[in-house]
């Protein structure tokens, strides 16, 4: 198996099939001092700084998928390797769902979504995977297994390591299993399409669960009981409305952003929501999530990035370069982490004292 990361080929690719094998691999990583990257299903392999050193890849996506659903508690446990689609089907069979709609969901593993803390427009109501994470099992370099969180809805015992692990891009350890809050399938789902965009206040007033702007159109998702959804749609006035499966399909296609991510450069702009409309976005395909103050832009190059970053910085936001050719990424921090890098690096060190995970991709 050969996988290059930003053009850099690792010497070894480990594909453990079980947690035990993974722990053995992590012992070898420590013993031999291997600079290692963790990969789930590889859908986000383009994300991150160009690796400084790369000895080994650990592909977690090859491990046995497993999902356990607890309808009474409205929670589920999933192995990191389970694909988003497998999980969705399994939860739906129980009348439940994982209320997230991150980019590339259909190509992602559950572990990858949690490790990147990628979220979509529904995060306005349901927040991010980081907020929904109740327990995480994390294998450390050297081969010890750790568990963070009791797995119940409320738990403040000890430091909130869960929140560090979610979004850590595999630099603290390998996520093997997560337990998350689920939600019941709503009685009604509707997506309304308007052929114009709305002022932020007007949009908020309609109370969608999430809203997206693409190509000058607004897509608003409503869900809840029938009376609630009809009420919201009624207060919106004109527009096309899709319900049920059709609505879900449209929403899934939109929020997965497969087309946008097929372009060579993808930027993610995050700003306080009221500032977003003033962002000097470069030309290209855009996907805006106005209620969150997030926009994705796909372009041909990173021209204009510095100006955009300067603007974002001036309003308290940032611009991550999610995707770009290695030569364009070589001399920048793609994440746009400005402050507190030193603290982050030292926190990482607490988990991975020799700095073997991540190879400079993230922190």
């Amino acid at each position: 198996m050969s996988i290059a990361v930003d053009g850099v080929e690792p010497r070894y690719v480990f594909v453990p099939r079980t947690v035990e094998e993974l722990l053995d691999v992590l012992a070898v990583v420590e013993r031999d001092g291997l600079n290692t990257l963790i990969v789930g299903r590889g859908s986000k392999l383009f994300m991150g700084n160009v690796p400084r050193r790369l000895d080994a890849l650990i592909v977690v996506g090859g491990m046995q998928p497993a999902v356990e659903v607890d309808e009474d508690e409205l929670v589920f446990s999933s192995s990191a390797s389970t694909s988003y689609d497998e999980l969705r089907r399994e939860l739906n069979r129980h009348g439940l769902r994982w209320p997230v709609d991150p980019p590339l969901a259909r190509f992602s593993s559950v572990g990858g979504i949690v490790a990147s803390n990628m979220y979509g427009p529904m995060a306005y109501w349901y927040m991010t995977p980081r907020d929904q994470l109740l327990r995480v099992r994390l294998a450390l370099v050297g081969g010890s297994m750790t568990t963070w969180g009791a797995g119940v809805i409320k738990d403040v015992a000890g430091y909130n390591v869960r929140r560090l692990v979610a979004g850590s891009m595999g630099v603290l350890g390998v996520i093997t299993e997560v337990k998350m809050r689920a939600a019941a399938l709503p009685e009604e789902v509707a997506v309304a399409v308007l052929d114009r965009t709305l002022d932020l206040r007007a949009l908020r007033k309609l109370k969608p669960v999430g809203a997206v702007e693409v190509d000058g159109r607004s897509y608003m998702r409503f869900e809840g009981n029938r009376a609630e959804v009809e009420y919201r749609l009624g207060s919106m006035g004109a527009g096309d409305v899709l319900y049920g499966r059709e609505a879900e399909e449209l929403w899934g296609d939109l929020t997965s952003m497969a087309g946008l991510f097929s372009e060579p450069v993808v930027l993610k702009v995050v700003a306080p929501p009221a500032n977003l409309s003033a962002a000097p976005l470069p030309q290209g395909k855009t996907f805006r999530v106005p209620m969150l103050g997030v926009a994705y832009v796909a372009t041909g190059s990173i021209v204009g990035l510095n100006d955009l970053r300067a603007w974002a910085s001036s309003v308290g936001g940032h611009v991550a370069v999610l995707k770009a050719p290695p030569e364009a990424k070589a001399h920048m921090d793609v994440w746009d982490i400005r402050g507190n890098r030193d603290l982050m690096a030292r926190v990482k060190e607490a988990f991975d004292p020799r700095g073997l995970l991540g190879a400079g991709r993230y922190i």
């Binding site: 009474d72 010890s144 809805i153 409320k154 430091y159 390591v161 982490i337 603290l343």
Partner: protein, 466 residues
């Protein structure tokens, strides 16, 4: 106490903001847990982050501990100066700095009282007419006295947290002073900050990583209608089972609270009596929200589920006033305990929701075995128990028995797959129990995280970690 320290502190914050008189220090000996007391050497009241930083540097220099303190309502000994030293009270830093509804955030100094945020948001909401306005959702029972900084310290929960999440889910950004005196900004007004979630790590760190001097919190839009439902049951178990059925049904209630007969008896004996039925073994108080028709449909569904699961009586509050009276009674339940027993120890374990009936039975057995009585009033939707174990402090043996019973209850919670603390924090009282939940490898990792921020163990030593 080293007089040089007091003088040096006074040079930073001004003499009038330093307390050394033993009579005045008395107030700072304990916090809301009121089970143990230890006197600080000195209390300081800095007014700015820079002054906090100066105090931190001095503490390091003199090698004395610092205990950050908001209103001191911690129920885990979090704000108690267990090793003496400096109590750093944030009380003077109590301004609401900005209500920014365009970005759905509010920026506050740490000693702003939780309830003030909602008052400010409401006022701002009238002014710019965002209908129907906003709220700051985390609402601990102590919200009229506890500070946002203290809420951040313990990652506090509350009644509405069933739907909206706890404090950490509402904190967008922090300004913190590290033990070495550096002032750092974590996060901000944007939905997401790049890199590891240091903001999330700080929330719930109980003042052991540094001092919070500014908080940016998100506020959430209000709905047009809230419906409040009251239901009574023949047993607390039956009420617990009804909660499971309710949650499974797909309704997303705003709040689901349970009170048992002893708790109802207490509130109905006090000034917040709301006409709650005293004869029921348990009652549930539930809020649903949405548009008028949406909330009404949910309320009907809730009522029919509760009836199908053994409720004797189900009532919808006739109007907002009645609902408010019921909720005020619930929120005063801890305070009202004085009407049924002189003192109490309150525990805060959480169990999986479906284990609630079993846990409630076990609590009664455990407490009875110690010859004591218990009242239960808690966040049933979250499985977050709050047994109030009643005792009389004039009899030291009773106090010890109450503490032992409390510890047994927490062990039981962990055995049932839960935690020793759902929202009150580990603090001082529960740190010995942390190893029930974490292995030595995990505890060691937490110690290393502490050392990243506080290598000399200056801020709130003796808390959280065993």
């Amino acid at each position: 106490m080293d007089r040089r320290l007091a003088r040096a502190l006074a040079s930073i914050v001004g003499e009038e903001n330093v307390l050394v008189d033993p009579a005045e220090l008395l107030v700072y000996e304990a916090d809301g847990s009121l089970v143990t007391a230890t006197r600080p050497d000195v209390v300081v009241f800095p007014g700015t982050a820079e002054e906090v930083a100066g105090v931190m540097r001095l503490a390091r220099e003199f090698g004395v501990p610092i205990v950050p303190r908001g209103s001191g309502t911690s129920l885990s000994g979090g704000a108690q100066p267990v090793r003496g030293g400096i109590v750093l009270s944030l009380a003077r830093m109590n301004r609401i700095l900005e209500v920014d509804l365009d970005n759905e955030v509010v920026v506050v100094e740490p000693a702003v009282i939780n309830a003030w945020v909602n008052e400010a948001v409401q006022r701002a909401g009238y002014a710019i007419a965002i209908d129907p306005g906003y709220q700051y959702a985390p609402d601990p029972g102590s919200q009229r006295v506890s500070t946002v900084g203290g809420n951040v310290g313990h990652n506090s929960g509350g009644i509405k947290c069933f739907k909206y999440g706890v404090t950490v889910n509402h904190v967008r950004g922090l300004e913190v002073v590290l033990p070495n005196g550096e002032v750092r900004r974590l996060g901000g007004k944007a939905f997401e900050a790049p890199g590891l979630d240091l903001t999330g790590l700080f929330v719930g760190s109980e003042g052991t990583l540094g001092v919070v001097t500014k908080v940016t919190i998100r506020v959430v839009p209000l709905f047009e209608a809230v419906k409040t439902i009251l239901a009574t049951f023949d047993s607390a178990d039956a009420a617990g089972s009804a909660v499971s059925a309710l949650v499974r049904s797909g309704v997303r209630p705003l709040a689901v609270e349970l009170m048992d007969k002893e708790a109802v008896e207490a509130v109905e004996s006090g000034p917040y009596a709301a006409g709650l039925p005293r004869d029921a073994e348990a009652l549930l108080l539930i809020d649903v929200e949405g548009s008028e028709p949406g909330a009404s449909q949910d309320a009907e569904k809730v009522a029919s589920i509760l009836r199908a699961h053994g409720a004797n009586m189900v009532r919808l509050a006739s109007d907002g006033d009645e609902a408010q009276k019921w909720w005020a009674a619930r929120k005063q339940a801890f305070g009202a305990m004085g009407f049924v027993g002189p003192n109490y120890v309150v525990e805060d374990g959480t169990v999986p929701r479906k284990a609630l009936p079993l846990a409630l039975n076990r609590i009664r057995e455990i407490v009875a075995a110690h010859g004591l009585r218990v009242a239960n009033v808690f966040h049933a939707g979250d499985g977050n128990l709050h047994p109030l174990i009643l005792y009389d402090e004039r009899d030291p043996a009773q106090r010890d028995a109450a503490l032992r019973a409390g510890e047994e209850v927490l062990r039981m919670c962990v055995e049932l797959g839960g935690t020793i603390t759902g929202e009150h924090g580990v603090g001082w009282h529960k740190r010995r129990l942390l190893p029930l939940m974490y292995s030595e490898v995990e505890l060691d990792l937490m110690r290393r995280i502490k050392a990243v921020f506080d290598p000399d163990n200056v801020v709130n030593p003796g808390k959280v970690l065993p």
